[in-house]
């Protein structure tokens, strides 16, 4: 399998200047709004520490809390399923739908169902799946995965949305007014809500103490998906657990502030028990999470609450777009999770970072994201997944830089100049550096040569 070429994909993204500028500005704007919100809470850093500690505690007692959650959910009248991996998850959902003869499913946004590739699985089995979140619906209609975990269609201009909607929903192709477009989606989704035989949500949190699912949305689509059909299925990654309802307040205060710079999501729903005459199913999904929990350097990534702030602040993500990562999870959190799914396929992603550390600073649960990126690079090199040219260059650099004699021969070579030096110093052919940048000029003498001449030998 060929690794995803992030650099190549980013180059295409950058060529579309209007899109690039909008994408960068829009996400930077979210970052600035986030700063304003977090600065308005004097206890923000305390909340981060608390959120991190709660998640750390939960993950280190995960089996106990999962069993507690299951027992309480069953007591509430829900039916609980366990899925080892994506295939088991999809099969389970398909069987639940099948046992009710359900052929239509309205669903709220869920990264987990994207991770499991659930939609195509169900569609090939004759089940119509309707995404009801506006951004996710745009992406579904355009046959693209979401490019961001909170704002799935953020890489599209409104004119792009107008084109997608005119093609798929029959809207006026010349009208890209956002209210018109949003209302068109609303009106065309409404009949699906009324007719659907099943509804589905993901989960932002699952509370062990109460056995309830908590979903945070801004559109109300999760509630319509749950309350209209007679069958409700929640897909929940096992890392979403929180021990007690009192812990939820910490996270609800942080999630929307950090994600979008708004104090709270419009709606925070607690789904606890099926209404009379309906069924509520909860599918608890592992899909690699237990394995990740066992990785000494990487288990901290399971604390993630999917706020997307690391993506908004990431200067690389903003200039390459989520789709350039070729994975369900993109941006900083993506590049530390994706290699656990497929090391070779995602081996270039941890290098799509300058290690600037802004992601770590905005993370509400204090995941050491940029340090994990650094660690993944070591793992990828150890497992022989570096491109040949890079591996070779590093071996040569390691030899030259560990020998004062070879090093001096390289940097002091008479007339070495720009032809030779950048190649040696920058570890690649001259070309990539010089394509959009001037190459630094080599001076007449190195510092060491100056020192020996002017200060004499020690």
């Amino acid at each position: 399998m060929k690794p995803i070429d992030h650099a190549e994909a980013s180059s295409k993204f950058i060529e579309a200047k209007d899109h690039l500028d909008f994408h960068d500005r829009r996400l930077w704007d979210l970052r600035k709004k986030r700063d304003r919100e977090t600065e308005s809470l004097p206890e923000w850093e305390e909340l981060r520490a608390l959120a991190s500690a709660i998640k750390e505690h939960t993950l280190t007692h995960l089996a106990d809390y999962l069993e507690q959650f299951e027992a309480n959910a069953i007591r509430n009248g829900a039916i609980v399923h366990w899925a080892r991996d994506a295939a088991e998850h999809n099969q389970t959902v398909c069987e639940i739908l099948g046992s009710h003869g359900a052929r239509t499913l309205v669903k709220a946004k869920s990264m987990l169902t994207d991770e499991c590739d659930m939609r195509p699985f169900l569609e090939t089995r004759g089940i119509e799946v309707i995404e009801t979140d506006l951004g996710e619906r745009i992406q579904q209609l355009d046959d693209e995965p979401p490019s961001h975990i909170v704002v799935p269609a953020v890489h599209k201009l409104r004119t792009d949305v107008a084109a997608v909607f005119s093609r798929t929903l029959g809207t006026d192709p010349g009208n890209s007014d956002v209210h018109y477009l949003a209302e068109s989606q609303r009106q065309t989704t409404r009949p699906h809500f009324l007719e659907a035989e099943a509804g589905m949500t993901g989960a932002n949190f699952a509370i062990a103490e109460t056995g309830s699912i908590v979903v945070c949305t801004n559109e109300g689509n999760a509630d319509l998906s749950v309350h209209l059909p007679k069958l409700y299925i929640a897909s929940v990654g096992i890392e979403k657990l929180l021990p007690r309802i009192e812990h939820l307040g910490v996270f609800v205060r942080m999630l929307s502030r950090n994600a979008l710079g708004s104090p709270i999501t419009q709606i925070t729903s607690h789904f606890r028990a099926p209404r009379p005459g309906t069924e509520m199913h909860i599918v608890l999904v592992d899909n690699g999470r237990s394995e990740r929990l066992g990785m000494a350097d990487f288990w901290y990534s399971l604390k993630c609450i999917r706020c997307g702030a690391c993506m908004n602040t990431c200067p690389v993500y903003r200039r390459s777009g989520g789709l350039s990562y070729g994975a369900t999870y993109s941006g900083p959190i993506g590049v530390i999770i994706d290699p656990t799914f497929n090391l070779r396929k995602y081996s270039a992603l941890p290098f799509a970072s300058t290690l600037n550390g802004s992601c770590t600073n905005v993370c509400p649960v204090k995941i050491n994201i940029h340090e994990q990126i650094y660690k993944w690079r070591q793992v990828i090199a150890e497992r022989q997944q570096l491109p040949f040219v890079k591996k070779e260059a590093m071996q040569i650099a390691g030899k030259v830089l560990s020998s004062p004699k070879l090093y001096r021969a390289a940097v002091e070579a008479a007339g070495a100049g720009a032809e030779y030096l950048p190649r040696f110093m920058l570890y690649n052919r001259l070309n990539p550096w010089g394509r959009q940048r001037e190459v630094p000029e080599a001076p007449a003498a190195t510092f060491r040569q100056w020192y020996v001449k002017n200060r004499g030998k020690r």
């Binding site: 300058t354 071996q395 390691g398 004062p404 090093y407 001076p443 510092f447």
Partner: protein
């Protein structure tokens, strides 16, 4: 106080004037400075590329060169960050641990250890934008980071603010990464160059004649970007200004 001067490989090869300014500045402050002649590099380029094993011999050489000094001081935050936080490819002997703990970036050394607050010989009658490299900012924590709430502080700005005639301009995104990132600059060239172009444009639009930084590697990249764009922005290391360079 025995201080060893650590001049990173790229400063040695491309920016000797930065090494000279660093040495002269420390000497001006009455500090006895030695320059170990067999020094090369700290190992960061290999380690940041995932190749810690290829960095081991270079790291061992670094420790051999700089053992026995009270302080090791270098004009480059990312190299100091590597030494302090990532020089782990070799056994952590007492010598290694000591060298790592005693290695300082120039600004933090001047600010925290020597506690210099005044550079009476320095004058820089220009408008400058300050660029603090990400390792210097977020790893060495030399200034307040925009992501973390709290009282404003900046060690580089505090040192520069005593320079006569200097005027500061503030770009829109003062601590957004400029996109150098070591080997990132060549293996992720499209994004790296775009980030660099955006960075120098931001400073230029804010009215900066000069971009000043404690991190010459960022400036090497930014200078290349500004020259290609034809922007009339100049670049200078903080050591040069503090040493009296008038631009």
């Amino acid at each position: 106080m025995r201080v060893a001067l650590f001049i990173p490989c790229y400063v040695d090869a491309f920016f000797p004037e930065v090494g000279i300014a660093t040495l002269e500045l420390l000497e001006r402050l009455g500090i006895e400075v030695a320059y170990p002649l067999d020094q090369t590099c700290c190992g960061q380029p290999m380690a940041n590329s995932g190749c810690e094993k290829d960095a081991a011999a270079t790291e061992a050489l670094f420790v051999r060169n700089f053992t026995g000094f009270d302080y090791v001081v270098g004009p480059s935050g990312s190299c100091v960050h590597h030494v302090r936080d990532h020089l782990t490819a070799i056994d952590q002997t007492p010598e290694v641990i000591a060298v790592r703990a005693r290695t300082y970036e120039l600004v933090e050394f001047l600010h925290d250890i020597v506690k210099v607050r005044d550079f009476p010989w320095a004058e820089f009658p220009h408008s400058v934008g300050l660029h603090i490299g990400c390792s210097t900012l977020r790893a060495l924590k030399t200034a307040k980071m925009s992501e973390i709430a709290g009282a404003a502080f900046s060690k580089p700005l505090q040192l520069l603010s005593t320079v006569r005639g200097i005027r500061f301009v503030t770009p829109d995104r003062p601590d957004e990464c400029c996109g150098f990132g070591g080997t990132f600059s060549v293996f992720e060239e499209p994004v790296s160059a775009k980030m660099g172009h955006d960075k120098v444009t931001d400073h230029h639009n804010a009215g900066a004649e000069y971009i000043v930084s404690p991190d010459m590697s960022c400036l090497m990249h930014q200078k290349g970007c500004a020259e290609r764009l034809g922007l009339p922005v100049k670049f200078i290391h903080i050591a040069q200004i503090l040493n009296g360079d008038r631009g």
